[in-house]
C-alpha cells in the first residue's frame, strides 16, 4: 500500500530530474503526520503569521491559541494588538510585529481573521495578506481563514463571508503540491472561544490530509468541563464499528492513545482479527452484525454488563461496497450496502440514544466523497453514504439539547485493502486527482474521527467533513 511517487518525491534528485526534463509527473510532498498522542505544545517550534482585517473579532482567542500551543507568533500590522502582548507575556512567546508591506518571512502557518469583512470590496484584504506571503509558506504548511457564517448577515457582508469559502477551496488546490493545506472556519456569535481547540487541531500534523474544508463552529452543544489538551479521552468509553481492519483498526489505536477505553465492534466471523485489535489497546471486542435488527439491543446489553451502561461516543465506521451498475445490480446487493452503511447506523443510534449514549456524547458516522459526488456502479453505496449526510444534518439539532454532537466524515482516496484492489491505472488516477496529489492513510481519517469525539471538537455538529486531501470531485 506504499505510494512510490510520494517516496521518490522525497528525494531531491527525483524532483530535480522531473523539473529539468519537464516530465508530466506530479511530485507530491510526503505529508508530515503526528507522532504519538496529543501533546501539550503541538506547535512548539512552528512559526505562525497572523493577520486581520479591520473589525476582526477573534484576536483574543487567536493569540491565546497560538501562544499556548507553543508556536512562535508573527503579527502583521502597524501596532501590536493588546491580546497578542498579553499572550506573549502569559505563555512566554515573544511576538514579532511586521509591517504589512514587509518582505514575507518563512512561516509554517498563515492565519487571517476575516470576521470583520463588511463587503465584497473588502475581499481584497485576502489578496493583500496572502499574496506576498505564500512564497514563505513552508512545506506541510497551513492556511486558516476565520470568518462569520453568511446566514443572517446583510447581503454585502454575506457575500464577503461566502467568498471566503471559494477563496480557500482554490488556494487549497494551489498550495497542495507543497503538502500545505487550507481551511476556512465560520465562527458563530458566542462560539468564539471554541476556535482555540480547532486551531490547535488544524495547525497540527493531526490534520495532515484535510484541506479545502469549511468548518462551522456553532454555539450549540455545551462544552464539557475541563479542557485537557493531553489525554482528552481519559475515562471515556468509545465504541467503533468495523474495527477489525483498515480505518477502523487504525482509529482504535488512536482513540486508545488519547486515553479512551475502546469497544471494538465487527461482524461475527472476524473474531480473531478483532480480538487482536482490541487486545493491543486493552479494549473490548464485541462481535455484532450491524444489520442484525437486534444489534442495538445487543450493544446496549453489553454496555450494561461491562461498562456501567454508559457510552461517551460511537463511531459508525463499518461499511461495505457492492458495486455494479444499477441495470445489472442484484436486489440483495442493493439491500446489503444500504443496510450496513445506513440502515444499521440509524437503528443502532436509535437504541443508543434511548439507552446508553451519555448526554454530552458524540456520534460520528462515515460518509464518503463518492457518496457526495456519485460514481458509476455505486448507486447503492452513494445512496447510503449521501443518506448519512442528510441523517447527521437532521439528527444534530434534534439531540443538541442533550449536548450530543453528531457529525459525518467523508473519506476520499485512502490506502486500504479496498483501494489496493482497484486496478492499477484507476488507482493511480484516484490518488493523484487531489490537491495533495496522493491518497491518505487510514490513520488520517482516524485522526479526524478521534478529534471529533474529544471535548476539543465542541461546537462542531451537523457537519460533513471531508478527509480527502482535496479531492477534485464532489461538492
Amino acid at each position: 500500500m506504499s505510494d512510490l511517487l510520494v517516496e521518490l518525491s522525497a528525494k531531491p534528485w527525483f524532483r530535480q530530474t522531473v523539473k529539468n526534463l519537464g516530465l508530466p509527473l506530479p511530485t507530491p510532498q510526503a505529508l508530515r503526520r503526528a507522532k504519538g498522542p496529543a501533546e501539550a505544545l503541538p506547535l512548539e517550534g512552528r512559526t505562525v503569521t497572523a493577520g486581520r482585517a479591520p473589525g476582526a473579532r477573534l484576536t483574543d482567542h487567536l493569540a491565546r491559541a497560538v501562544a499556548a500551543a507553543g508556536a512562535t507568533p508573527t503579527v502583521v500590522g502597524t501596532e501590536l494588538p493588546a491580546p497578542w502582548q498579553a499572550a506573549a507575556e502569559a505563555w512566554g512567546r515573544p511576538v514579532t510585529l511586521v509591517a504589512p508591506e514587509a518582505e514575507a518571512a518563512p512561516a509554517d502557518a498563515l492565519v487571517f481573521d476575516a470576521t470583520g469583512l463588511a463587503g465584497a470590496d473588502e475581499l481584497r484584504r485576502l489578496y493583500d495578506f496572502f499574496h506576498p506571503r505564500l512564497g514563505g509558506l513552508a512545506r506541510n504548511g497551513r492556511v486558516v481563514v476565520l470568518g462569520r457564517p453568511a446566514a443572517e448577515r446583510d447581503p454585502a457582508s454575506a457575500a464577503a463571508m461566502a467568498g471566503l469559502e471559494g477563496f480557500v477551496r482554490s488556494l487549497a488546490k494551489e498550495i497542495g503540491r507543497k503538502g500545505a493545506t487550507a481551511h476556512v472556519v465560520f465562527v458563530e456569535e458566542g462560539a468564539e472561544a471554541r476556535i482555540e481547540a480547532l486551531l490547535r487541531f488544524l495547525l497540527s500534523p493531526r490534520a495532515a490530509f484535510l484541506t479545502g474544508q469549511p468548518w462551522h463552529l456553532s454555539a450549540a452543544v455545551d462544552a464539557p468541563e475541563g479542557n485537557d489538551w493531553v489525554q482528552p479521552l481519559a475515562g471515556q468509553t468509545v465504541l467503533i464499528t468495523g474495527a477489525a481492519r483498515g480505518i477502523g483498526a487504525a482509529t482504535v489505536g488512536l482513540l486508545a492513545a488519547e486515553g479512551a477505553h475502546v469497544i471494538c465492534v465487527d461482524r461475527p466471523g472476524d473474531e480473531a482479527l478483532l480480538g487482536k485489535v482490541a487486545r493491543d489497546v486493552a479494549g473490548t471486542a464485541l462481535s455484532v452484525d450491524v444489520t442484525d435488527p437486534n444489534a442495538g439491543a445487543a450493544i446496549v446489553a453489553h454496555l450494561k454488563a461491562h461498562h456501567g451502561g454508559r457510552l461517551d461516543a460511537v463511531i459508525h465506521n463499518a461499511g461495505i461496497t457492492r458495486d455494479k451498475t444499477l441495470a445489472r445490480m442484484k436486489p440483495e446487493w442493493w439491500d446489503q450496502a444500504v443496510a450496513v452503511n445506513l440502515g444499521g447506523v440509524v437503528a443502532i443510534n436509535d437504541a443508543l440514544l434511548a439507552d446508553g449514549l451519555a448526554d454530552g456524547g458524540r456520534i460520528v458516522c462515515l460518509s464518503s466523497v463518492a457518496g457526495i459526488a456519485g460514481n458509476v456502479g455505486q448507486t447503492n453505496y452513494a445512496a447510503s453514504k449521501a443518506g448519512i449526510a442528510g441523517y447527521v444534518r437532521a439528527l444534530a439539532p434534534a439531540v443538541a439539547d442533550r449536548n450530543i454532537a453528531v457529525n459525518a466524515v467523508a473519506p476520499g482516496f485512502i490506502e486500504t485493502r479496498l483501494t489496493a484492489a482497484i486496478p492499477a491505472v484507476t488507482r493511480e488516477v484516484g490518488r493523484r486527482l487531489s490537491a495533495l496529489g496522493q491518497g491518505g492513510l487510514p490513520r488520517d481519517v482516524g485522526d479526524l474521527l478521534t478529534y471529533l469525539v474529544t471535548p476539543q471538537a465542541t461546537g462542531l455538529t451537523g457537519q460533513v467533513i471531508r478527509a480527502c486531501g482535496g479531492m477534485f470531485i464532489g461538492a
Binding site: A86, E89, A90, P94
Partner: protein
C-alpha cells in the same frame, strides 16, 4: 457525653541550621562524598544545638546524586555519627528542591505527631557522582555475572556480545532532562529569550548576588551558619569557595556564552557545580520549650508544583510561590523577605517577569492581577546560588537556615522561598517568625 477540650494543634518550629562551606566541585572536598559532607553538617548542628541523643527521632535527608550502594544517605549519616540506632532515617529526592522537601517532610511528620525532634537537610557531591555503565552492559553481562552458575564459555559469550566494546565506555553524567534530552542551561537559555531577559540584566543580577554574599561573609553574618570542615588530608575548610567579592559586570561581560552560540548564559551568571551540605534542626514547639531551645521560625505554608518540562523548564516557582502565599493567607506585599534559588540569573529574572505580569496572572494563575513586583532590596538579601554555589540537595536547607536567621536578626515577620527543579518542578514555602 463529656465534651473534650480540643488539643492545641502541634506546630513544628525551626531551632536553627548550619551548612558546610560550599566549594566548587572537584576541589578540596574531592575525597568527601555526600555522606561525609552530610555527616559533617549534622555533627556540627548537634554541637551547636546539643539535643539529648535519646530525644532525637529521625533524620530526613535530601539528595540528588545518590550513592548507588547506599542511597539512604540519612541513615548512613546517623550510623557514621554513632547516633543511637533508634534514630531512624529516610532520604528523599525531588531534584533541586530535595533539601526543602526533606524539611517540609519533617515538619509534616512532627505536626502529624509521628516525631518530636528531627534533623532535616541535604547534601550533594558532584565530585563523587558515579559513572554509570551503559545499560547494555548490565543487560548482557548481568545474567552471567549475577545469575548463578556460569562457565568460561558463558563469559566468552558475553565478551563476544559486547564487542567492539565501545558500549563499555561509561557515559559522563550531565544535567539533562530525561524526557526532552535538553541540558538545563539550554532550557534556561530558551527561557531568557522567551522572557526578554538580556545578558546585561543577568550579569548585573549575578554580580549583585556575589557582592551581597561577599558582604555577608565579610560582616560575619554567615559565621553563625557556616561550619568548618576537616578534609581527610587534614586541611580545614572554613569559608565558601565560590563567592567573588571583586567581580564586576565589566569583568563578567567578557565571558563567552556556554549553552548557545549567540546565547546570554555564561559561567558567571549560572550556578556552578558545587559540593556541600546543610542541616536544620526541627522540633515540636512544646518539646523545644521543654528541652530549653528557642525557636526562630515556623512554616506557615508550602507548595510543590509541576509544569511541562518541554515548555519553560524552570518556571515552577512562578506557580508555586503564589500558591504558597495563598495558602498562607498572604499577598506578596505581606512578606518582608524573598529568597529564590538562583539556578541561573536568567531563571530568576524570568520568574520575576511572570510574577509582575497581569496577563500571566490571568492565564496561568487564575488571578485578576499580577502577584506583584518583588523589590530587589528584599530579594536574596545575602546572595544566592549563583554566588554561593548549589550543592543540589543542600540548597533548600541553606535557604531555610539563612531566612530563619534573617527573620530574627532583621526583626521581620515573613519570608517567601522559591526553588526551581529539574523535571519541571517548582517549590515554594512561607516562613514566619516565632516568638
Amino acid at each position: 457525653m463529656a465534651t473534650r477540650r480540643r488539643a492545641k494543634p502541634r506546630r513544628a518550629v525551626i531551632i536553627g541550621g548550619v551548612r558546610t562551606p560550599f566549594l566548587k566541585a572537584f576541589t578540596q572536598y574531592l575525597h568527601l562524598d555526600t555522606i561525609d559532607l552530610g555527616a559533617a553538617a549534622v555533627r556540627a548542628l548537634l554541637e551547636k544545638y546539643p539535643v539529648p541523643r535519646a530525644e532525637l527521632d529521625s533524620i530526613v535527608w535530601g539528595g540528588v546524586i545518590l550513592p548507588g550502594a547506599a542511597p539512604n544517605v540519612g541513615r548512613e549519616i546517623a550510623l557514621d555519627l554513632k547516633l543511637p540506632f533508634s534514630v531512624e532515617a529516610r532520604t528523599v529526592t525531588r531534584a533541586c528542591a530535595s533539601g526543602l522537601q526533606a524539611i517540609t517532610d519533617a515538619v509534616a511528620a512532627i505536626e502529624r505527631g509521628d516525631s518530636d525532634v528531627i534533623i532535616a537537610g541535604g547534601s550533594d557531591s558532584t565530585s563523587n557522582a558515579e559513572l554509570k555503565l551503559p545499560q547494555e552492559v548490565v543487560r548482557t553481562a548481568g545474567p552471567v555475572l549475577m545469575g548463578g552458575k556460569a562457565g568460561p564459555m558463558d563469559y566468552l559469550g558475553v565478551l563476544a556480545q559486547l564487542a567492539p566494546f565501545t558500549a563499555l565506555i561509561p557515559k559522563i553524567p550531565k544535567i539533562a532532562e530525561r524526557t526532552t534530552g535538553e541540558v538545563m542551561g539550554e532550557a534556561a537559555e530558551r527561557m531568557a529569550a522567551r522572557n526578554h531577559i538580556t545578558r546585561e540584566a543577568q550579569d548585573e543580577f549575578a554580580v549583585r548576588s556575589h557582592h551581597r554574599a561577599a558582604a555577608a561573609i565579610a560582616s560575619g553574618r554567615f559565621d553563625d551558619e557556616v561550619i568548618s570542615v576537616r578534609t581527610p588530608k587534614g586541611d580545614a575548610v572554613h569559608a565558601d569557595g565560590l563567592v567573588r567579592a571583586e567581580t564586576s559586570v565589566e569583568k563578567i561581560s567578557r565571558l563567552r556564552p556556554v549553552f548557545a552560540k549567540d546565547g546570554t548564559l555564561t559561567a558567571a551568571n549560572s550556578s556552578p557545580l558545587t559540593d556541600g551540605a546543610a542541616a536544620v534542626l526541627l522540633m515540636e514547639e512544646s518539646k523545644a520549650k521543654a528541652l530549653g531551645f528557642t525557636p526562630k521560625a515556623a512554616f506557615r505554608s508550602w507548595s510543590y508544583v509541576g509544569v511541562d518540562p518541554a515548555d519553560q523548564l524552570l518556571m515552577g516557582p512562578a506557580i508555586a510561590m503564589p500558591k504558597a502565599l495563598e495558602r498562607a493567607g498572604l499577598e506578596l506585599g505581606g512578606v518582608d523577605l524573598v529568597d529564590m534559588h538562583e539556578a541561573f540569573a536568567a531563571q530568576v529574572l524570568s520568574i520575576l517577569a511572570m510574577l509582575r505580569s497581569d496577563a500571566f496572572a490571568r492565564e496561568r494563575l487564575g488571578r485578576d492581577k499580577a502577584v506583584g513586583e518583588i523589590d530587589p532590596e528584599r530579594l536574596n538579601v545575602h546572595g544566592g546560588s549563583v554566588a554561593i554555589g548549589h550543592p543540589f540537595g543542600a540548597t533548600g536547607a541553606r535557604m531555610v537556615t539563612t531566612m530563619a536567621n534573617e527573620l530574627v536578626l532583621g526583626d521581620k515577620q515573613h519570608a517567601l522561598l522559591g526553588i526551581c527543579a529539574a523535571g519541571g518542578l517548582g517549590a515554594a514555602a512561607v516562613l514566619e517568625r516565632v516568638g
